[in-house]
C-alpha cells in the first residue's frame, strides 16, 4: 500500500550521493604469491609481539577442571593508522581508501576432547569483495596457528594446508584442519582481517566480552585510530575502562588490559548481558567537520567520545527520518476493499473518538498491507504466510505516517529492548527501537507491530517497562528540520501476568479403550502468548474472509479475484492452494498438541480456530480440538492410575548449574497459565489420592496453585501458575525456583480410580 517515491531535490543530502559516486576504488591484489608474501610478513609481526602473556605456559591447578583455559586473548585494531602503514602496503592502497586491520589472537590450553574438537578445524572467509554504487570493499583474512606441545615444543601449522570451500571471484572461503592436536596442547592462533574500503562506509561496531564460560587469564585490546576518525566507546557493568593516549601522527590509541577473569559459572537462562555482564563497546566513525557535519550529526575527526549522551544517538535516528523525508514521499495506494472502507471512515470521522478512528485506520492498514494480495510469485509462501516477516520498526513507521496522513496525530517512541542496554547507556542509534504513540485518545496509546495478526494498541513485550523511553513529535511528513521535532520522555507500562496467559479448559475421560485418555480441549491464548499459535493455526483464507466482512466487502478473495480479467487465473490457483492448506491444517493442530503436551498424540479431530484474536473487541486466540493420548493410564489389578499431572503439558525444569544464580532475572514478560481440568469418573469407580494434588506455592515472584475437588461424577482441578514479573532481583530466585519446581513436580501427579465395592 505504501510506495516510496524518490524526489530529486538538489538538497545537500543528494549532493552527498553524487560525491560518493565519483570515488574511484581499486581492487586489492589477490594472487596467491602476494597473499602468501603478505601472510608471512604478518605472521612475523604478530608472532613477534613483545607480550609476555603469549609466552605463558603454566595454568593454575584449579583451572584443570575446565575444558579449556584462555591464557591470553588480544584484539588489536588499527584504522587508518600511520603506525600500521606496513600493512597498508600489502594492498593497493587506493586513493581515499581506508585500511582497517583487525587482529584477534588467542592462546588456549586444551584440557579435553571437546576443546580439541573445537579447535581442530577452523573455517573462515579468506577473501570477500563487495562492490556497489556507494562502496567497494575488499576483505582479506590471514591466519596463523601454532601448537605448543606439553614438552614445550612449538609447531607452526602450514597455512598452505588450507582447502577452499568456496572459490569465486568475489568470495573465497577456506578451511584448515589443525594437525597433531591433542588434549594437553596449547593452541596459539590469530586471525587477521584486513579491509580496504571506501572511507564513507561504516566500520562495523566492536563488542568485547569480559566474561567467558572458562577462565581467561589475560585479556587485552588495543586500538590505533587515524585522526580522520572519531571514536566513541563505553564500558558496561564493571568492565575496565580504556586508557587513552596519542600515537604517531597524533593517532588516538586506546588500551585495556584485564587479568585473571574467572569463569562465569551460571547458565545464560534469562540474562541480559548488556545490563549484567562486563563488556565494552566501541565505534569508529567517519569524522566530518565540513558543511554536511551538522546535517549528518557527524562526530569530529580525531575526537574521542567516552560515554556519549543517548540524545546523540536519538539525533542520528531523527536525522535519518528527516533525510528520508527530504528524498522520498510516501504515497498510500489503497486496494478496493480498504479504499472503499477508508472513504466511509473519513465520512464518519467526526462522529468517532480518536481511539476508534485510530483503530479503524490500523485495521485498514493491516488488511491492505498484508492480506489484500492480488498476485504472488510463489502462492504457497503467500498462503503459509511465511513470506510475511516484518521489519517491525519500519512497518510501525509507515503506520505512523499513514495515520498522520489521515490526521491522527502520533509521536514516535524510542526505547531500548528490555534485554538490551539501558537507555542511558546506548552506543548506537540501532540500540533504539521504535513504536508509535497515538495522541488524543484514552485507550493505551502505544501501537507496535509484532506480526500480521497484531491488534491495535499492541505494546511489544521488549518495550515493556522501558525506563526513560523518548517520545518525539516528528511533525508532518514534510518536516525535515529536526530542531522542530519536540522531545519528551515517558515510562512505558508493563503488562500483568494474567494479560499474557494460556488458559486450557479440558474435559478428560477414559476412552472406550481404557488405555487411552480422551480430552476435549479448548485453549485461550492472550497477549504475548498469541502470535506463534496464530501463525501456526490460522489459515490465510479464513483471516482474509473474517477481515473483509468487517470492511463490508461481500465477496471472498477468490470471488473478487475471479471477477477481474487479469486476476481470474490467480483466483483459480489460489483456490487450489487454499484447499491444500486446509487439508494440512490438521497437521498444524497435531503439532500444536504434541508441543503443548510434550507427548505423542494418538488421534485428533474436531480441531478448529474458534476466534482468531485479531480484533481489539475480541482479542483472545481461541481454538479447540478433541484428542486421544496413550501412556497416561496405568492399571493395577482393577484400579486405574491416571498421570493427570501430564495434562499440564511440558513444564520448565531448572537443573544443575542453572539452579545456581548470582544474576538478576530478565525473563521476556510476566505470564500465567491456567488449567481447568474436569475428569469424568467412570461409572463404578471412585477417585482416591486427590488430596496429594492440592498444592499452593505463592510468593512475590509468582505462584503455583492447584485446587482439586471431587463432585462425585468428576474431579475438578484448578491449576494456576504465574510468573509475576519479567524482571526479578536475584534475591527472589529461590522464590522462583519454589513455584517452578512445584509445577514441574506436579506434572508427576497421579490419581487412582478404585473399583467400588
Amino acid at each position: 500500500m505504501f510506495n516510496a517515491v524518490m524526489m530529486i531535490r538538489y538538497a545537500p543530502a543528494f549532493l552527498l550521493f553524487c560525491l560518493c559516486a565519483t570515488i574511484q576504488t581499486a581492487i586489492a591484489q589477490t594472487d596467491a604469491d602476494k597473499y602468501h608474501e603478505a601472510a608471512e610478513s604478518l605472521r612475523k609481526e604478530i608472532w613477534g609481539w613483545d607480550r609476555p602473556e603469549f609466552t605463558r605456559r603454566a595454568v593454575p591447578v584449579e583451572y584443570a577442571k575446565y575444558s579449556k583455559v584462555v591464557l591470553a586473548r588480544r584484539m588489536d585494531v588499527s584504522a587508518d593508522s600511520k603506525k600500521k602503514i606496513a600493512f597498508r602496503a600489502l594492498s593497493l592502497a587506493a586513493y581515499r581508501e581506508l585500511a582497517l586491520m583487525e587482529v584477534l589472537r588467542e592462546s588456549v590450553k586444551l584440557n579435553d576432547q571437546s576443546a580439541v574438537s573445537e579447535y581442530s578445524e577452523i573455517s573462515y572467509t579468506q577473501l570477500e569483495r563487495k562492490g556497489g554504487f556507494l562502496m567497494d570493499r575488499t576483505t582479506v583474512v590471514y591466519l596463523g596457528i601454532k601448537v605448543i606441545k606439553p614438552n614445550g615444543e612449538v609447531r607452526e601449522i602450514n597455512a598452505d594446508d588450507i582447502v577452499l570451500t568456496k572459490d569465486q571471484k568475489k568470495k573465497k572461503e577456506a578451511k584448515i584442519a589443525v594437525p597433531d592436536l591433542q588434549a594437553g596442547d596449547i593452541v596459539d592462533y590469530f586471525i587477521a582481517k584486513q579491509t580496504n574500503m571506501s572511507q564513507l562506509e561504516a566500520i562495523p561496531p566492536y563488542l568485547f566480552l569480559f566474561y567467558d564460560e572458562v577462565p581467561v587469564m589475560h585479556c587485552s585490546m588495543h586500538f590505533e585510530v587515524g585522526k580522520k576518525y572519531a571514536v566513541e566507546y563505553r564500558s558496561y557493568n564493571g568492565a575496565p575502562e580504556f586508557k587513552t593516549s596519542k600515537g604517531e601522527d597524533n593517532d588516538n590509541v586506546l588500551d585495556i588490559v584485564k587479568e585473571n577473569i574467572p569463569a562465569v559459572e551460571e547458565s545464560s537462562l534469562w540474562t541480559a548481558p548488556f545490563r549484567q555482564l562486563p563488556l565494552v563497546r566501541l565505534n569508529i566513525l567517519l569524522g566530518n567537520k565540513g558543511i554536511l557535519a551538522s546535517r549528518l550529526n557527524a562526530r569530529k575527526p580525531g575526537e574521542l567520545y567516552k560515554n556519549q549522551e543517548s540524545e546523540e544517538y536519538l539525533e542520528d535516528k531523527l536525522r535519518r527520518i528527516a533525510n528520508r523525508r527530504s528524498m522520498t514521499r510516501l504515497v498510500f495506494d489503497m486496494g478496493k476493499t480498504s479504499g472503499e472502507y477508508l472513504k466511509q471512515v473519513r465520512k464518519n470521522r467526526n462522529k468517532m473518538s480518536t481511539d476508534s478512528l485510530a483503530r479503524e485506520l490500523f485495521y485498514i492498514f493491516r488488511f491492505d498491507t498484508f492480506l489484500d494480495q492480488t498476485t504472488a510469485k510463489d502462492i504457497r509462501k503467500l498462503v503459509e504466510m511465511s513470506a510475511l516477516e516484518l521489519d517491525e520498526s519500519l512497518v510501525t513507521f509507515f503506520l505512523g505516517e499513514f495515520l498522520k496522513a489521515e490526521e491522527v496525530d502520533n509521536y514516535m517512541v524510542y526505547a531500548t529492548l528490555n534485554k538490551g542496554p539501558r537507555m542511558k547507556e546506548i552506543l548506537s542509534s540501532d540500540d533504539l527501537n521504535s513504536i508509535i504513540m497515538v495522541r488524543g485518545g484514552v485507550a493505551s496509546p502505544f501501537y507496535g507491530f509484532g506480526s500480521i495478526f497484531t491488534n491495535p494498541s499492541y505494546l511489544p513485550y521488549y518495550f515493556e517497562g522501558a525506563n526513560g523511553a523518548l517520545i518525539v513529535n516528528t511533525r508532518g511528513p514534510r518536516e525535515t528540520n529536526i530542531n522542530k521535532f519536540e522531545k519528551s520522555s515517558v515510562k512505558i507500562p508493563v503488562s500483568k501476568s494474567h494479560e499474557n496467559g494460556r488458559i486450557e479448559q479440558m474435559e478428560a475421560s477414559l476412552s472406550s479403550d481404557p488405555s487411552l485418555l480422551e480430552i476435549k480441549r479448548k485453549s485461550v491464548l492472550r497477549g504475548h502468548y498469541k502470535s506463534d499459535e496464530q501463525q501456526r493455526l490460522i489459515l490465510f483464507e479464513d483471516y482474509y474472509n473474517a477481515e473483509r466482512k468487517y470492511f463490508n466487502d461481500p465477496k471472498t478473495l477468490i470471488e473478487k479475484l475471479s471477477d477481474g480479467r487479469k486476476t481470474k487465473k490467480f483466483a483459480e490457483e489460489l483456490e487450489s492452494a487454499f484447499a491444500e492448506a486446509r487439508t494440512k491444517n490438521k497437521e498444524s493442530f497435531l503439532e500444536e498438541a504434541r508441543s503443548f503436551f510434550s507427548e505423542e498424540i494418538k488421534e485428533i479431530k474436531n480441531y478448529k480456530v474458534d476466534n482468531m484474536g485479531v480484533r481489539h473487541t475480541n482479542p483472545d486466540l481461541v481454538y479447540s480440538s478433541e484428542i486421544k493420548m496413550d501412556g497416561l493410564v496405568k492399571k493395577a489389578g482393577s484400579s486405574y492410575i491416571i498421570d493427570i499431572g501430564k495434562l499440564q503439558g511440558g513444564q520448565l525444569s531448572i537443573e544443575g548449574d542453572q539452579r545456581k544464580r548470582k544474576l538478576d532475572v530478565y525473563a521476556p514478560f510476566p505470564r500465567s497459565l491456567e488449567y481447568d481440568i474436569r475428569f469424568a469418573i467412570p461409572q463404578g469407580y471412585a477417585v482416591e489420592g486427590l488430596d496429594a494434588l492440592n498444592k499452593r506455592v505463592e510468593n512475590a515472584a509468582g505462584s503455583f496453585i492447584c485446587e482439586a475437588t471431587n463432585t462425585g461424577q468428576s474431579i475438578i482441578l484448578k491449576v494456576r501458575k504465574s510468573y509475576n514479573h519479567a524482571f526479578e532481583p536475584v534475591a527472589n530466585w529461590e522464590n522462583m525456583l519454589a513455584f517452578i519446581d512445584a509445577a514441574k513436580e506436579w506434572s508427576n501427579s497421579r490419581i487412582v480410580l478404585k473399583k467400588n465395592g
Binding site: 582447502v163 594437525p179 597433531d180 510463489d378 488405555s515 489460489l574 493410564v633 493395577a636 484400579s639 508427576n748
Partner: protein
C-alpha cells in the same frame, strides 16, 4: 567413509529429494529424457560418457518457484545447463556453482549447480537440460530413475558401442512400471528404459541407503577397445578392481621406520599379540581424528601412514593404513581391506566403484581375523559396528585378494543393563543403581559424554539418567572406564526416587520401570513408507530388586509378558519371594532393519509392550 564415486552421489540424490518434502502434485515432471552415451575420448581420457539430461516440468495447480540442483565433480564435468520457461529462454538466468559440503566430510571436490525455476501460473512449463561428461567410465556407476517430483514418464537411453563392454544391472524395479528395450543402431546397442508414473521418493529418517530403495541401474564397466586405441580393462572381474586398488596402495609411500617407533612405544612392556593390538587400536581411536578429504584420487588412495601419524587426523583409509602399518611394525599381519557399509545394496559379485565406501584394517592372526575400524571411536576391540556387520570384505593378499564376510555380532554385543536395589521409604524409593553399556550402546553414550565439556560432564550424565524427572535424584555418582573403550562402561549411584509411590488408603501403587525403553517406537503407517534402520541391534535389560516393607504384601502383580518374534523378543516379569519383588524386563532386537511389511506387526508388539508397562504393582498393608 571414503568416496567411491557412486555411493557419494547417491547421498546427494537422496538429499535432493528433500525438495520433495511437501511432495504433492502441484509440480510434476511430465517427461524426461536421459541419454548416456559411451564415446571415444582423447589420450588422457580414452573413453568418456556423455550425458544429456532433459526434464520437462508442469505446474498443475498454482504458481510456484522450485529449486533445481545438479551435482558434478572433478571426474564428472558439467558442460552446460539451460532452462526454458514456456518455450522461451529464462531471463536473467544465473545458475550458481558452488562447492557442495556434506556432513562428516571435511573437503570434497563435489560441486553443485543450482537455481530457482519459476512457474508464473498454472499450466506453465519449464524445461531444464544439463550436459555432463564423465571423464572415466569407472566413475559412471549408476543411473537412478525417480525424481524429486512425481514423474509421469522418463526415458533413459544408454548407448553402448560394440567396442565397449558394459553390463547394466537392475535394482529395485519391483513396484515400478519400467519397460525395457534393446535395439541396435549401426555398431551400437541402445538400451532404453521407460519409467512411468513414479512417485517422488520422500526421505524418511533412519531409512536404508538409496541403493536399497530406489529403482536404478548399476553400470558395470568392464572393458573397452576404443577405435583409435588399445584395449582398456576396467573392472571386468573383481580381480581387476582389486588390481586397481592395489596399484593405488603401492603408490602410498609409507615410511615403515617412522611408524615403527610409535608402535614400539605404544606396545612396550605388553605381552601377547592381542594385548598389543588392543593398545594400538585404542590409541588410534583416541588420538586420530576423523577428517575426510574426498578430492580426486585422494578419495581412493590412502594417505601415508607417517602423515596420519604426524597430523593425528585422517579418513577411514588413512586410519586403516596407519593401523596396518603399526601392526606390521610389531611383526603382525595387518592388512588393508575394502568394504561397503550396510548403506550399500551391492556386494563384490558386481565389481564397481559403487560397491564399497569404506576401508578398515584387518589383523590376520593365524586362523582368526580381527576387524579394526578406528573410525568407530568408542567401540571395543573385537566389537563390530552394525554398519559393517555381515558385509563382504575385500582383503589385500599380495597379488591376490581374500574375499570374506565380516561376522554378524549378536545383539548381546550391545547389551545395556540397569539394575536397581530399592527399598520403600514413605512414598519414595531409595537404593542403589548400577548400569552398564557394551558395544554400540556404549559407543553411543561415550560419544555423547566425550563431546561434553569436562566441567559439565557430570551434569550431562545426570541429565541423561534423570530424563528430566526432578524426582529422580542421583547422588554419589561413580563412573568407570570412561577412557577404556575395551571395558564395559559402568556407573553406580545412590537413588532417591521421590514420590514414586502413590499411596491410597492401605494400598501403594508403584511403577517399577520408568525407563520404558521402546515405548514410543511405534510408527504411523500412514507416514512411514520406508523400512526403519535401527542404529544397532539392541539388548536392553532392566532389573529391580525391591524390598517388601514389613507388614506389607503384594496386592496385585502384573502378568508376565513375552513376545518372541524372529526379528525381536520382548519379555517382562515380576517374581515375588518372601521379602522381595524381582522385576526383569528384557528387549532383544535381533535385526537392526525393520522391513516396511513388518511394521504393522511391530506396532502391535509395541502396543503389547506398552500394555505391560502400563500395568503397575500394588502393595497393601
Amino acid at each position: 567413509m571414503f568416496r567411491f564415486g557412486t555411493s557419494f552421489f547417491l547421498s546427494l540424490l537422496f538429499a535432493s529429494c528433500l525438495f520433495a518434502q511437501d511432495s504433492d502434485d502441484n509440480i510434476t515432471i511430465e517427461s524426461a529424457l536421459e541419454t548416456y552415451r559411451f564415446a571415444a575420448g582423447d589420450v588422457a581420457h580414452p573413453v568418456v560418457v556423455k550425458q544429456t539430461l532433459v526434464a520437462s516440468y508442469l505446474c498443475n495447480k498454482y504458481r510456484a518457484v522450485i529449486p533445481v540442483a545438479e551435482f558434478y565433480n572433478d571426474q564428472v564435468q558439467l558442460n552446460d545447463v539451460s532452462v526454458k520457461v514456456n518455450d522461451s529462454r529464462l531471463k536473467n538466468f544465473k545458475p550458481v556453482h558452488e562447492y557442495y559440503s556434506s556432513d562428516g566430510i571435511f573437503y570434497s571436490d563435489a560441486r553443485v549447480c543450482y537455481f530457482s525455476l519459476p512457474f508464473e501460473k498454472k499450466g506453465a512449463r519449464g524445461e531444464v537440460s544439463f550436459q555432463k561428461t564423465a571423464l572415466d567410465p569407472r566413475y559412471f556407476t549408476s543411473i537412478y530413475f525417480t525424481e524429486p517430483f512425481f514423474l509421469k514418464k522418463k526415458e533413459v537411453q544408454v548407448v553402448v558401442p560394440r567396442w565397449m563392454k558394459v553390463e547394466l544391472k537392475e535394482f529395485n524395479f519391483h513396484g515400478y512400471s519400467i519397460a525395457r528395450q534393446i535395439k541396435t543402431e549401426g555398431d551400437m546397442d541402445i538400451h532404453t528404459y521407460t519409467i512411468e508414473n513414479a512417485k517422488a521418493l520422500k526421505s524418511e529418517k533412519q531409512s536404508p541407503g538409496m541403493s536399497r530403495l530406489a529403482p536404478h541401474l548399476l553400470i558395470l564397466t568392464k572393458q573397452a577397445t576404443p577405435p583409435a586405441g588399445s584395449q582398456i580393462t576396467y573392472f571386468n572381474t573383481l580381480a581387476d578392481q582389486y588390481n586397481w586398488y592395489r596399484s593405488l596402495v603401492l603408490q602410498i609411500g609409507n615410511d615403515a621406520a617412522s611408524v615403527k617407533n610409535k608402535a614400539l612405544e605404544l606396545t612396550k612392556g605388553l605381552n601377547g599379540d592381542e594385548e598389543k593390538v588392543k593398545a594400538l587400536y585404542l590409541w588410534a581411536q583416541e588420538n586420530i581424528r576423523y577428517i575426510a578429504y574426498e578430492d580426486g584420487i585422494a578419495g581412493f588412495k590412502p594417505e601415508k601412514a607417517q602423515e596420519v601419524l604426524a597430523k593425528k587426523y585422517g579418513d577411514c583409509k588413512g586410519m586403516a593404513n596407519l593401523m596396518a602399518e603399526m601392526l606390521k611394525a610389531i611383526g603382525l599381519d595387518g592388512r588393508l581391506a575394502w568394504l561397503g557399509t550396510n548403506h550399500i545394496a551391492y556386494d563384490y559379485s558386481t565389481p564397481s566403484l559403487a560397491v564399497d565406501n569404506h576401508m578398515i584394517c584387518v589383523w590376520m592372526n593365524k586362523d582368526r581375523t580381527f576387524y579394526l575400524d578406528a573410525t568407530e571411536k568408542y567401540i571395543g576391540f573385537n566389537e563390530i559396528a552394525e554398519r559393517i556387520q555381515g558385509r563382504p570384505i575385500l582383503i589385500e593378499d599380495g597379488e591376490k585378494y581374500l574375499l570374506k564376510n565380516i561376522p554378524v555380532a549378536n545383539p548381546q554385543q550391545n547389551t545395556s543393563l540397569e539394575k536397581r536395589y530399592l527399598t520403600i521409604d514413605g512414598n519414595d524409593l531409595k537404593g542403589k543403581v548400577a548400569q552398564l553399556w557394551r558395544g554400540e550402546s556404549k559407543e553411543w553414550l561415550l560419544t555423547m559424554l566425550h563431546s561434553a565439556q569436562k566441567e559439565k560432564l557430570e551434569e550431562v550424565l545426570k541429565r541423561f539418567l534423570t530424563a528430566g524427572n526432578i524426582n529422580y535424584q542421583i547422588s554419589n555418582l561413580r563412573v568407570f572406564n570412561l577412557q577404556d573403550y575395551n571395558a564395559d562402561f559402568k556407573i553406580e549411584y545412590d537413588l532417591l526416587f521421590k514420590n514414586a509411590i502413590v499411596s491410597v488408603g492401605n494400598e501403594m501403587f508403584l511403577e517399577m520401570d520408568n525407563r520404558k525403553d521402546f515405548s514410543k517406537m511405534s510408527f504411523d503407517t500412514t507416514e512411514r513408507k520406508l523400512p526403519y534402520q535401527f542404529n544397532f541391534k539392541a539388548h536392553m535389560v532392566f532389573e529391580t530388586e525391591l524390598d517388601i516393607p514389613v507388614n506389607a504384601k503384594v496386592a496385585s502383580l502384573p502378568s508376565h509378558f513375552a513376545i518372541d518374534h524372529h526379528a525381536y523378543s520382548m519379555k517382562g516379569e515380576y517374581k515375588v519371594s518372601e521379602s522381595h519383588i524381582f522385576y526383569k524386563r528384557e528387549i532383544l532386537l535381533k535385526n537392526a532393519l525393520l522391513p516396511t511389511e513388518q511394521i504393522p506387526e511391530w506396532n502391535e508388539s509395541i502396543g503389547k509392550l506398552n500394555e505391560f508397562y502400563n500395568n503397575q504393582l500394588a502393595l497393601s498393608h
